[in-house]
């Protein structure tokens, strides 16, 4: 990747030999440039953006809007007005559910979601459907996470108003062919919402190429700060949607009886925004661009393959999803026979190995696959084969620690 892994890790204050951080699908670690950017914002540009008529506020606004432009360019949107800053992917999806879905849905309409969605790309639709008398249909995947085009076509009906689908599953790591599914949904007149929380940090995502109507993702999973997220929406849809939150800086005029609302994107950004977070996110994007997705993917592929190979050495480990490591995008969700995942995670934690245990906010998927809770190790380009060795070797001691004779 041009740069040595040691040099890359030195950019991340928390990545030392002490900790093996294998939970990047929950949140990524942050490079120093991102941490310092938030500090720099408050030290050098802090004023309420979009409001003040003085120089400092103008600078704060500039940093915020430059960040919007950086996001636009990163995901290939047509205009910066199609980029709405939110707190995270969850808020972005809720925004679409509360504004677009609740105004578009009529009784008897249908929303199609896949069974592999994170709760945040399911519950907002379930709520909207209940409010409007609409129905949720589930698109099931096989054990590898595959959804066929035939199954997708069969699940779409003339009443399907909206399709919600993740680009990469946070449990199985599989990638859905968003471009093809969005095209089929559009033939049927349905709007397509993609959850990019797990994809945008790891693969190049271009909204115009995919032709999705909405894309939601979080800054904190892509090296950026917590508390800043993005909703991309096609302009013609965003224009028609009512506001989400009402309050300051999202209006044109307010009278005793009502208001007219600001233009995009400010219509959806009520109240004082997280400008320092947006500035930090812009630096995260710059960092990703500097390393480059070719290098990121190459390194993540090598690490995933290596972790797979090593996990397979343990006869008590079963990895969920496809046999082929290339379909996992750094996500390895597994069961260790006879041991509850919380015990696995607690014992790994003794050696300061950080993994996730539980249902990964995807209970319908685990139920569909008929697996109880699981442990998940998730990788990013900044991980090393040494960390994987430490993880696999410590995992190899877990059953013994719990009293199994082997």
């Amino acid at each position: 990747m041009g740069r040595d892994i040691k040099e890359i890790r030195a950019d991340f204050p928390l990545l030392t030999d002490e900790v093996a951080y294998l939970d990047s699908a929950a949140t990524s670690q942050k490079p120093r440039v991102v941490i310092e950017a938030e500090k720099e914002f408050y030290e050098c540009y802090n004023a309420n953006p979009l409001r003040g008529l003085y120089e400092l506020s103008v600078e704060a606004t500039d940093r915020y809007e430059e960040a919007r432009e950086a996001v636009r360019e990163f995901i290939g949107a047509q205009s910066a007005e199609e980029i709405i800053f939110t707190r995270n992917a969850t808020e972005s999806l809720n925004l679409v559910a509360y504004t677009y879905a609740m105004s578009a849905l009529k009784a008897g309409d249908e929303i199609l979601v896949t069974i592999m969605e994170h709760h945040s790309n399911f519950l907002p639709w379930l709520n909207a459907a209940k409010q409007c008398g609409a129905k949720i249909n589930f698109l099931e995947c096989d054990a590898d996470g595959r959804i066929t085009e035939e199954a997708f076509r069969a699940a779409l009906t003339a009443r399907t108003v909206l399709v919600a689908m993740t680009q990469i599953s946070n449990v199985l790591g599989c990638e859905n062919d968003i471009k093809s599914f969005a095209a089929i949904a559009h033939e049927q007149g349905a709007v397509f919402v993609a959850d990019g929380a797990q994809s945008v940090p790891h693969i190049p995502v271009n909204v115009r190429e995919l032709d999705v109507d909405f894309l939601a993702f979080s800054g904190h999973k892509m090296l950026g700060p917590m508390g800043i997220g993005v909703l991309y929406g096609k302009r013609e849809l965003l224009d028609k949607m009512p506001p989400f939150l009402y309050g300051g800086e999202m209006i044109e005029t307010v009278t005793r009886n009502g208001a007219t609302y600001a233009e995009l994107p400010h219509k959806f950004e009520a109240g004082t925004v997280n400008a320092a977070g947006a500035y930090g996110l812009s630096r995260a994007i710059a960092y990703i661009r500097k390393i480059g997705f070719d290098a990121i993917r190459e390194r993540e592929d090598i690490l995933t393959q290596y972790a797979f190979k090593r996990l397979r050495e343990n006869p008590y480990v079963t990895v969920l999803g496809a046999e082929n490591p290339a379909e996992h995008h750094g996500i390895l969700t597994f069961r260790l026979e006879g041991v509850h995942p919380h015990d696995v995670a607690a014992i790994l934690d003794e050696s300061r190995i950080c993994v996730r245990a539980g249902h990964h906010c995807a209970q319908p998927l685990l139920k569909h696959l008929q697996v109880p809770s699981t442990t998940r190790a998730s990788l990013a380009f900044y991980n090393t084969t040494e960390e994987i060795d430490r993880f696999v070797e410590t995992l190899g001691t877990v059953r013994r620690r719990l009293g199994y004779a082997e």
Partner: protein, 153 residues
């Protein structure tokens, strides 16, 4: 700063004191994990977030817990804790068992005296769980279910 990190690591390498032989023994070879056809009290206890799920059954005659058992799934801590609880309360009067459950709950959430800890017998080994907030619910599951069952009666 560096020292803190080091001392934390040293603690960690010694291992979590609660993955103890007593605990793993109760988890792998529980004495009380079985059906109890003549039970007259039954309650399910669930920690939905972790998937710990037990059904606790007691046979109570004239206020004395003459027998008890549980069935279910969950982490080692939830299962072993329920098993140790049954060790402790079988043969005791309900009020006495409730008093012990109260001591256990104070041990996990707050502080108890050394004498009180001795009263808990093997269940006293779970004292260190209080340092792991994520696991408190696991340790409490059996005891919470027991209290709910007796209080609902």
């Amino acid at each position: 700063m560096q020292n803190n990190v080091q001392s934390r690591t040293q603690n960690k390498i010694q291992g979590n004191p609660f993955y103890h032989e007593i605990l793993t023994e109760h988890n792998l070879h529980p004495y009380h994990k079985h059906a109890l056809p003549d039970a007259n009290l039954e309650l399910e206890g669930v920690n939905p977030n972790c998937g710990d799920d037990i059904v606790l059954r007691l046979k109570v005659e004239e206020d004395v817990i003459v027998d008890g058992a549980y069935e279910g799934d969950g982490c080692a801590i939830s299962q072993a804790s329920a098993d140790m609880m049954l060790d402790l309360i079988i043969g005791k009067k309900k009020d006495e068992a409730l008093r012990l459950a109260d001591i256990f709950s104070r041990m996990i959430k707050d502080k108890i005296t050394e004498e009180e800890r001795e009263e808990l017998e093997e269940a006293g080994i779970l004292q260190d769980i209080s340092h792991m907030p994520m696991r408190v619910k696991c340790a409490m599951l059996g005891w919470r279910t027991f209290r709910g069952m007796v209080e609902a009666e």
